[in-house]
Symmetry: D2
Subunit: 335 residues, 4 copies
């Protein structure tokens, strides 16, 4: 199986970059939830290309159409399906890559797995375009969670190793100018998540957030709280002591990132992900010809984002919301 997520909701994502459409089905949404479609469009707009200065020029008017699951703007209890039609499918400019796997794309591993039957146009089901339906589902979960007081928000921590806006802009522009790309680090903070969500062992919040987040192409690492830094600390430095803040139990520090034993502690959930530089670059790269078994070279044509870190922000929020909402539904069973 591949493209279904969740224990208490089931989010099923389908489509390829150049199939007639891409979409998502969400099974398990309670009935009676009002969806603010305009707000959802704004959320999706943050992911859309062409909305920030660093993104690709491919026009994606990614307004989802709801084919099921809504009645008069409210969820009706039936599975909700949203679809985004692909307008510019099967362009000729992807034929080049058919037998020349692009370095650090999924072209080669997909070729082996699907024995040549994979849809290679635009990366097929592996395309970053598939984060659009993820954001449709996640945007809905974010609305529901917001109604319960939970906010989830991502910010860019660094791009190309730079942390100031000025230097980031310069690094991205320099990469674009030479046909190259840059990566970055995103931090996600979920506030007001009630204590007690998540589970021990395999369905802990860290497990489930990770499982969701690695669905976003280009993410290669995740760390919670102070993450890898904790490995250099002593327990006496890293432990978060409890104290009473009025009637509330809090920790003075939040090295644990709001999750202990897989379960939310009531402190802010904090995690960071590493986004690798977009593998599509305009420079010549060495690869092999899968048909002839010979070494060759590829220049990935078309216009590509020199930096997808900014567009990835809502995607990470969506993934986090999906995991946290699933845990919130689970908690209702335990009362």
């Amino acid at each position: 199986m591949s493209s279904i997520y969740g224990e208490n909701i089931k989010v099923s994502i389908w489509g390829q970059s150049h199939s007639p459409a891409i979409g998502v089905t969400v099974d398990g949404l309670p009935a009676g939830i009002k969806i603010d479609v305009e707000k959802l469009h704004r959320f999706l707009g943050r992911r859309a290309p062409g909305k920030n200065k660093f993104s690709t020029a491919r026009r994606e008017d990614d307004k989802p159409e709801f084919l099921s699951g809504l009645k008069d703007g409210f969820t009706c209890g039936a599975p909700l399906t949203a679809v985004i039609y692909n307008s510019d499918t099967r362009p000729s400019d992807y034929e080049e890559i058919r037998f020349k796997p692009r370095p650090s794309h999924a072209d080669y591993s997909a070729h082996v797995k699907f024995r040549g039957f994979q849809d290679f146009y635009g990366g097929g089901h592996f395309s970053g375009r598939l984060t659009a339906p993820l954001c449709v589902a996640g945007g809905i979960f974010l609305q529901i969670l917001e109604g319960e007081g939970v906010s989830i928000r991502c910010a860019v921590k660094s791009v190309a190793g730079e942390t100031s806006e000025e230097k980031i802009t310069a690094a991205v522009e320099a990469a674009r100018a030479r046909g190259d790309s840059v990566g970055g680090v995103i931090e996600c903070v979920a506030e007001n998540v009630p204590a007690g969500l998540g589970n021990p062992m395999f369905d802990g919040l860290e497990n489930m957030i990770s499982k969701a987040v690695f669905a976003i192409p280009a993410i290669k690492g995740i760390e919670f709280g102070n993450g890898f830094s904790c490995a250099s600390l002593c327990g006496s430095e890293n432990n978060d002591e409890f104290f009473m803040d009025g009637n509330q139990i809090k920790t003075k520090t939040n090295n644990h990132g709001g999750i202990l034993g897989g379960i939310s502690s009531g402190m802010s959930i904090v995690f960071r992900v590493a986004v690798k530089p977009t593998p599509s670059i305009g420079l010549g790269q060495k690869t092999v010809n899968l048909k002839t078994g010979e070494n060759t070279e590829i220049i990935v044509s078309g216009r590509h984002d020199p930096c997808i870190v900014f567009r990835a922000l809502p995607c990470v929020e969506a993934a986090a919301a999906m995991a946290i909402y699933d845990a919130a539904l689970a908690a209702r069973k335990e009362g």
Copy 2:
């Protein structure tokens, strides 16, 4: 749900630190697999306390007994259950923590989730002791994978920020002397994993390995390939070019850590995890009294590991083997 893992095998882990027993049920093992019990004991021995100089003195003779699923040493197709009996259950020395959550343990979050009914003795189901049944299951998967040519092996990359054996030993001894603890980083390498295992999106190898690994208490981060380092690189630096190595397609570098689009590329799978310093330390720490709602202090009694990084090595191997074996079973369906 919490303690069940897998799509094609189901690994169900149960037990508490001081319940009569802990154990694991593995459903979905093909029939006819020979289990080398002696080899499994040796694998479990690497996890057991008292086997290295840094570990706790609690005697855990963790020889699993197989209650089902085996006939004459071979798997018989029925669910396999292994049990490890707990000998020294419910000691008085845990009463102290009943209403005083230990900093950076799961005591508090479990208390909220289970509304006071959780088994607090020794951390209950959240205890590091539950990695023993994980290693039973994982040890079996490792044997099966080894029979298919796959090897999975972990190594310590650093402890307390130190990388040389001498300095690591000094850091651990210093921590022990002052009643403190230290964390570290573990690297796991899986070799000879065939290309084509794993899935796009949510059941990718990165997703599934992460979901497994975060079941090990104390792990707070994971990164694949060059991980967080990739965020500072350009695409032209980070991309792994393909070339023909005789008849085999390989990449010159392995920044991607053997996984592209969630699917193995045939290169070694490489990931690192951050292990936080053991939260149980012998120093006084501030906490709250859950009954009275007052600030108080706790000194965690008993003898505790100043460093669990070494004992965690087989646990991470077990978790990785579980994820990779699940993907290997999945791949059989696709042929």
Copy 3:
């Protein structure tokens, strides 16, 4: 959760009778399977209304469009989504039933479950129309199984208690004439299913076929082999003795219906289902007004099938194929 089926394939059905579309996503189909679309249309045609003399006049041109999962007519390994657009949505003639649950429909139980937010038009997600996407998925599984030599075929055993074609026709016509409806019994036979498919306990073929078949509205019973008749027999009468038929092991009788211990025996799989008379009838019926809490009456308007037994034949085949194909995929993991 509700509308997702399967362990090794995942079939996710969505849509409401009068939502913009209905559809199905199949996740887990191996890549490289050729879909014969014309053959699929013919299969769907057997379910479509207006194709036999007893069915409703609502025009349903149920040609599915494939939005994803296919490339050049072959499955590509990505989730396959097929959609059927609803053309005549939200007619005024359903307003009547909004607060008057139709006897023996899901109107009332859905109203309670979804607290008034359900899509009541045409039965919403509970409509028999949702068997169209089931047949799309099942039709594909039937093609795959046929390629492996397995045939699955249903036949009408009785309608309104009658077994001859002549009397059945008379019974249906009489029911139609007086605005009433009739039920019937369908027998399904799956031939050449290899021995060894299915599992003990909960994922046995009987369990999984039942789970699939009860998704078809109006089915109220299922029995395997000689079914309820076996309850009146002695073991010596009911047991199926084995014998060698050339090199093959067979049973002389097939009272067990091809399934022993949840696992196929190599004999034909035989089961029967009871189809209740269509609850939509043209006669006045007593019901309650959900808004006022008063007793009232309802006459279900529109033209309705007096007998859906014939149209249900491909639906039962589809459900059986789904269960058997899932078991066939599972068996590949065990080799």
Copy 4:
């Protein structure tokens, strides 16, 4: 997969007739539920052999031991595991059947599936003995449901086609006397199940009850409400009209058996199952020798129940409780 049930609870059953133990793990029980162990023993006593005049003489002192999940008699939120040790394992009197599959047992289909590695002693994982852990889990669910006002109770409708106690006794005694066996029909009634439990399509109550019930060996059919009888009725006869009974909405008749569209209607849930005659009989039967491929004969030695219908009553209650409790937990998420 095979022996795991449930969406909101996960019930994992393991063990073989002659393995060291059999048992069950229940993952997902809310914390804080008091288990009445004495009451559970009484419930299990109804299933135990030797407790009624028709059952086998094999002594099974099936008192489960709880290895995890309980603290001071209450569930603690961790997975609950109960084990029943097998005392008289691997008797010589099963060697006979090793290569001679018993007619209408799972011996042959298991042999094919597990390629000769199955545990054939006493039927292994397919043994009726595995209903003991099912009853442990089900007995707990019954207690929880009872606390919520729901009662589930089975009764024998017929044995060997007879319905009076006197004739049933005579039929069973006659079967015993000649080394034969008889089957029967069981009716299960679940009262006070609130309206609104269950789901459309695949997770409907009929689907989920069927999936649970067919795990009990010997069950070959299930029907809800008036079941197969409905197939001979007109809609006007079969439809259950609604009326106000004080403030409550009820149906005058209950042909639908308390389930409409997969969802409980608030009326009693009623279903019947067909229990085939015990396949183990003392008479000579024809079979094949799996080693030599020759026709041969088998006489199943040992003492066997001439009628398991009475012992199956609590098993069916357990299966129904498991399905209904799972649906009850699901409903909590929807509020």
